[in-house]
Structure formats: structure tokens, C-alpha cells
Subunit: 440 residues, 2 copies
């Protein structure tokens, strides 16, 4: 009687797995896009002030530009009249020199005329006319430099205002416009291929059939890639045949910066990916991780390019992407903080059962009186798909011998916050985990 | 001697101003987009489960489907052999009925064969061959229903999984794919026009000139509109002439769902917008708000369509958009929580000077030990442009007779979080503010 062997894999810890893929993280190239298409892209170069801001001394208000020394000694009882020798709007210059007891009526944003060193607000002066001439009567002295926006006070020429790798938000856009970037140098998006495996998968547009489900992972990953800042290319489904699948994987791999597959990475009879990696002569970085869900998440590398074998289970696929693919995408986008932002939060419910492995629960963050609270959403099963729609964080429950009580302080991985952090959030332990137990 | 009068405006409170524009907030129509273009769009209809998830009882693991009753009494000492009558991968069906002491080797995701009510994990069984037949030897009894993902356990048919008005995140995408939405009904983006005024403004691609600055507000607003979920259309700059400007405003207004102008709303000699509103016979909802920056922010309505007159100062323009235009856009996108999410935070610095009016300081949020801390970024001046690039929140400093100390609890408006809230964050007081003082 013959005994058949099930392949036994050695799981590694999450931190070690992240460390192994990040060794192959590559920085993307640069391209130029019109400023109006640059929102949410990533700056490829530091943004430096190419001129001072403001570029000249200017008036922050509508008012009268004068010489402060001329207001010395004036008061309600002894007001003084200034001759208004010109009126200048923003964008116009007064080409003369303002003399003693003269004023220039000036609009917000206009350059301070030569000779002037202060602005009196419009409503602080009484406008008068006499013999076809304009005057303004002032009743209070003003100090030199009053109501002037000084050249360079907002930014000095040459100062670095935004770092390379920063996402372009509306404020960065304002600076890009200020310094004349009609075309903005941004980091190219990594092109990330998706190839699905699984004979049970129908296309999204297909009618339901017994024993089959529609492919939700490919569309989900496309959205996850977009959220991370990458460009997704869907290569469809692998055929139900090893040789044909191998060819498809190879073809797709050539066209992308990295390739994701879903399903087929386990040790089951229909899991072709392990063989495909071997046939492609790709180095498998890991094929089992001491985590749940997503323990079968696999990564391999060929020609310095990464292949990720994500689980076919929706939640496991989702978590695998966020932990291992996301930081590689962010690093490609020149981020100095490629890992998801993390935060301390209070657990909204109890998890009484201890975990023998690190667990990542899809959760939702709320802010209660300035403190974060994290609550799981939906079913905590690796094949749950509904729980993902409400998730904006992953609640980290480190392995241990006890459970977690409601109100316990836990670390959460923030999925909708792209500020990022330099620290993966896991010790890069290389100790071996004795994964005798099976988990999904 | 003739005295010239400066127009005096009556400021209203922020809450009242929000209330006045929200009366004209309109809900947008519906359009269909391919699922791969639906990320970050807004669901126009509730998403209902059109079939149970999973759609059939299925196996969450690779293993053996059996009848639990057949394992009664077995143990390490008294193991039992089951004949493996078939092997089914996910997507395939076992068409027979599993009989006593029979098993079906089953892969993750495959439908549970008729007759079976439990799955034994692959590694818990010893596979054997005898006389060309396959057997599995089991040493432990299993309970009925063990290791089965039940039909409908993740979602019952007919249950509402995602509400109308929710932004499509990767988890929502997974659900849309599951239920066959190759085309997704989303809310049309509001088309929002931008028209700049100001003779000092150069185009982004122009060389610098004395007394002039490049137009940063238009590009910034385009990005703000994109962040809020709208579609921006830039109509360029208004000419330096009232009649021509009026024509341009009218033309632009006809093509959009709402129109934003920048600059020209003050009481200066070159501020055409008040006259333009009058000539268009638009109702001015307000033209002065007891806030800083952005006190001159104006809103008007014509044919139930909104015109916003934002300040020409970058920070004032930015704040005016986020307070008054943002919630109108979110309401258009069917959001039930159209106002920016707010949170309590600790002030990172002191503001010793009291404010006679509500103040909105551009700030940056950090999470320190699970609590939010808000720190101002850059210059707190309405004409500052550099401070905006680092801002992800507005720190609200309500008017009062004292300043704010470092560590004080304040409310912050979160700009990069689109979960939203139902409450504008301001009392809708209609009391009159005696705005004798001028502010920018």
C-alpha cells in the first residue's frame, strides 16, 4: 500500500517576508504630465522655490501706500492729508517715486511703490477730493513695515518646499503653479499585471453556474493597485492546463514591472503556481507565512522582478496585497515611507481565542473623543468578501497564548491613509516558526 | 470737499453661510462606468446581494468531503478507511451521491458533494492506494457541519451590502464583481467651472514679470475639486474689463453645475464680481463671513445654480472651497455625510492672541499614542501659498476673548478623509456679527 505525501512548507514570520520582498523593491522612472493631470501623482524631484514668494514687496490689503515717517505726530486732533498721486491695481506698477506726504491708492496684491514702507488700510483713511486732486486724510501714525507682505517671506529662493516622493495634493499643486510647472515631473506608475487562476471563476459579466463564482479578486486587486498608486493590467484567467498557464504567466511577466497571480499557490492537486515558478527558474522567496489570513502567500523573483502568488480567498488576497505588494509599489513611487501608516487604537470587541500566528482582522476605524477605536467588519474568515467593503484598516493581533479583550490597545494598519511610515511594523525575525498547524 | 464711501458689508457666521449654500445643494444624476474605472467613484444605488454568498455550500480547505456519521467511534486505535470515489477541483461538481464510508477528495472552493456534511483537512487523512483504488484513513471523528462554508453565510440573498452614496473602495469593487456588475451605476461627477480674475495673474507657463505672480489658485482648485470627487473645467482668466468679464462669467455658468471664481469679490476698485452678480440678477447669499482667512467669500444663486466667489488669496481661497464648496459637491454625489470629517485633537503649538472671528489654521495631523495632534504648517497668512502643501487638516479656533494654549483640545477638519459627517460643525446661528474690523 503506497502512502502519498503532502508537501510540507516552512512558514516564516511576516516581518521576514516583508524584508525579503523589499530587497527587490525598485525605484520607478520619471515622466512629465500636465499639471491638471498631476493630482495624486508622486513628485519625482524635490520642489524648490525658483523665485522668492512673494516675488516682490506687496500689499496684503486694499489701502494707501505711504512713507511711515510722514505719519509721525499725527492724531485724531492733528490729522494729515496725503495727496493720492496714483491708483494701482494688482499686476500694475507705480513707476515713479512716492514723495513726502504723498500716497498711492493700492489694491491687494499690488507691488509696494518705490519710496513707500507701509500701507494704511482703505477704511482707516478718509478719501477727499479738492480742485480735481485726490487726497486721503489719516488720523493715526503707522510704523515702518506695517501691512506689507515682504518679498520672500512665504518662501526664500532656493528653499526646498516639497520633498521628492510626496504625493501631489492641492497645496502642492498651488506651489507647482506658482513656480511655473505647466508640466510636472512625476514618478512613472508601476505597471502591475494580474492573472487569475481557478476553474471555479466566472467573468464578471457571466451568468452564475452551479459550483462556480464570479472572479472578484482581479477587480479588487485592480482597485487596490490604483489606491496604492500603481497601474493595473488584467491578463484574464489562466487556462486549466499547466503548459498553457506557464506560457501565459511568462508572457504577462514580460510586459509588467511586477506580476500578481491569485489562487493556485497552495499544495492542492490543481495548484500550478509552484511548478510554474520552478519551470520559470524563479527564486521562491517564501511560500508560507505564519499569518492569517493569507498563509499561502508566495513571492518569487526572476531577473530582479517580483512575482506575487496571492491566495484565491478574497480576504487572504486582500491582506496579502496590502502587506507585501503595497510597500513595493510605494518604494517604486520613491516614497521614503513605503509602509502603511500605523496607529494605536482601542479594540472595539473582544477576541477571546488566542492565535498561534499573527492575525490581521479587517476593521473599521472611528475616532472617539480624539482616540482611535478599531472594530472588525463582517466575518473574520479568509474567504469572506463582504467584510472588505467596510474595511479601512487591518487590526493586528500578534500571535500569542492569550486572546484580546475589548478596549485592549492594538496596532492598526491604516489602509486609506497614504502618509506612510519607514517601519514595516514587524520585527524582521528570522527565527523559524514551527507551522505544524494548517491555516487558511 | 466730497467724501467717498467704502461699501460696508455685514458679515454672517460660518454655520449660517454653510446653511445658506446647502439649501441649493442638488443631487447628481446616474451614469454607468466599467468596473475597472469605478474606483473612487460613488455608488448611485444601494448594492444588494443578488444571490447568496457563497452561492453553495463549499469547502474552505483542500481535504476530503465525507458523511460525519461515518466517523463515529473512530480513533487513533480504531482508524477507518474511506474509499475516495472522486477528486473535484473548485468549479467542478460531483454529480453522484456520496455513500457510506466513501469520501470525495475536494479542493478549496469546490461545492460540497451531495450526501456529505463535513470536510476533513488534507493533512488529517492518510492517503493510500490499493488495487487501483484510492483510500483515505481517518483517525479522528468529525462533527456534522465541520469545515464547511455554508451557502449564504457571508451574505444572504437580498441583503443590502453597501449603501448608495458610498465611495467605491477595493472591498466594494470585490462585491460589485461578485454580483456581476461589469458596468457600475455611479453618480455623475458635478462639473465645476473655474474662472480667475486678477490683472496680476500670469499663466502657469508664463515667464515672471515685475508686479505679477503666476495663477496658482486655478490649478489648486482643480486639485481640490478632484479630491472632493468633482470634475473641474478651467475657463481661463477674466479679461480686465467689466463687460467682457460679465460675458465670460455668463458663458461659463451655462456650461457647468456650479461656477467658482477667484478674486474680485472684495470692495476694491477692481473687484467686478459684485457688479456681475447684480447684472446677472443672481441672488447674493452672503458676501462677508466672520472668519479668517476668507472673509470676503461670496456665494450667489441663479436659476437654482450656485456661483462661488472665492478670495484671490491662496489660503483664503483654499479654506473657502473646503468650507462651502466641498459639502455641495459631496451632496451632489449623494453623500449622506457631506461635511468634512472632524475630530478632536491636541494643539501642537500655542496661539496666544485672541480671535474676534472664527479662524481656520492650515495644519497637519499626527497620531501620537492613539491621540491626534494638530500642528499648524507654515505661515498663517491668507496670502501664504507654501503652507498649503503640508496641510491635511484645518484647525478650528473659534472666536473668543482668549487665545489657545499648546495642548488645548481643538476641533480639526480632516481634509484627506472622505468618510464625512452629517454635521457641518458649526451652529447655524443667524445672529449678526458686528464686523467693524477688517480682516483678510
Amino acid at each position: 500500500m503506497k502512502k502519498m505525501q503532502v508537501e510540507k512548507r516552512r512558514p516564516i514570520h511576516v516581518g521576514e517576508a516583508i524584508c525579503r520582498v523589499m530587497r527587490y523593491a525598485d525605484k520607478g522612472g520619471v515622466e512629465r504630465v500636465p499639471i491638471e493631470e498631476s493630482y495624486n501623482r508622486v513628485l519625482a524631484n524635490p520642489l524648490t522655490a525658483t523665485h522668492p514668494v512673494p516675488p516682490f514687496h506687496k500689499s496684503p490689503y486694499d489701502g494707501y501706500a505711504i512713507r511711515a515717517c510722514d505719519t509721525k505726530g499725527i492724531s485724531r486732533k492733528y490729522p494729515r492729508r496725503f495727496e493720492v498721486v496714483a491708483t494701482i491695481g494688482a499686476g500694475y506698477l507705480f513707476n515713479g517715486v512716492v514723495e513726502r506726504n504723498q500716497a498711492v491708492r493700492i489694491m491687494t496684491g499690488a507691488a509696494i511703490p518705490t519710496g513707500c514702507d507701509a500701507v494704511v488700510m482703505l477704511e482707516k483713511g478718509k478719501a477727499l477730493q479738492k480742485a480735481g486732486k485726490q487726497f486721503v486724510e489719516l488720523k493715526h501714525p503707522v510704523a515702518a513695515d506695517e501691512n506689507i507682505s515682504f518679498k520672500g517671506e512665504d518662501a526664500r529662493e532656493g528653499s526646498v518646499l516639497v520633498q521628492e516622493g510626496q504625493r501631489i495634493n492641492p497645496g502642492v499643486t498651488a506651489l507647482l503653479a506658482t513656480f511655473g510647472y505647466a508640466q510636472v515631473p512625476v514618478v512613472k506608475k508601476p505597471v502591475i499585471g494580474i492573472l487569475s487562476t481557478g476553474s471555479e471563476l466566472l467573468d464578471i459579466g457571466d451568468e452564475m453556474e452551479p459550483g462556480k463564482i464570479r472572479n472578484s479578486n482581479a477587480a479588487m486587486l485592480q482597485a487596490q493597485i490604483q489606491r496604492a498608486g500603481g497601474e493595473a493590467v488584467y491578463f484574464g484567467q489562466c487556462p486549466d492546463d499547466l503548459e498553457k498557464s506557464l506560457k501565459r504567466v511568462k508572457q504577462a511577466f514580460e510586459q509588467v514591472d511586477m506580476l500578481l497571480t491569485t489562487g493556485g499557490v497552495s499544495v492542492g492537486d490543481f495548484d500550478y503556481l509552484p511548478v510554474i515558478y520552478e519551470r520559470m527558474q524563479a527564486d521562491v522567496l517564501f511560500n508560507k507565512i505564519a499569518m492569517r489570513p493569507g498563509s499561502v502567500t508566495t513571492a518569487a523573483v526572476k531577473d530582479k522582478k517580483l512575482l506575487f502568488g496571492l491566495s484565491g480567498n478574497p480576504s487572504a488576497c486582500y491582506v496579502g496585497f496590502e502587506l507585501y505588494v503595497y510597500p513595493v509599489i510605494r518604494a517604486f513611487l520613491h516614497s521614503k515611507t513605503p509602509y502603511h501608516q500605523k496607529a494605536c487604537a482601542y479594540l472595539g470587541v473582544s477576541f477571546p481565542k488566542p492565535n498561534p500566528y499573527d492575525r490581521f482582522v479587517r476593521g473599521s476605524i472611528s475616532i472617539v473623543e480624539g482616540a482611535l477605536q478599531a472594530t472588525p467588519v463582517g466575518l473574520d474568515k479568509s474567504n469572506s468578501v463582504t467584510s472588505l467593503s467596510g474595511a479601512d484598516c487591518l487590526i493586528m493581533l500578534p500571535r500569542g497564548t492569550v486572546g484580546y479583550d475589548r478596549g485592549a490597545r492594538v496596532t492598526v494598519i491604516l489602509l486609506e491613509n497614504d502618509s506612510g511610515t519607514t517601519w514595516s511594523g514587524f520585527k524582521q525575525v528570522t527565527s523559524k516558526y514551527d507551522g505544524s498547524e494548517r491555516y487558511g
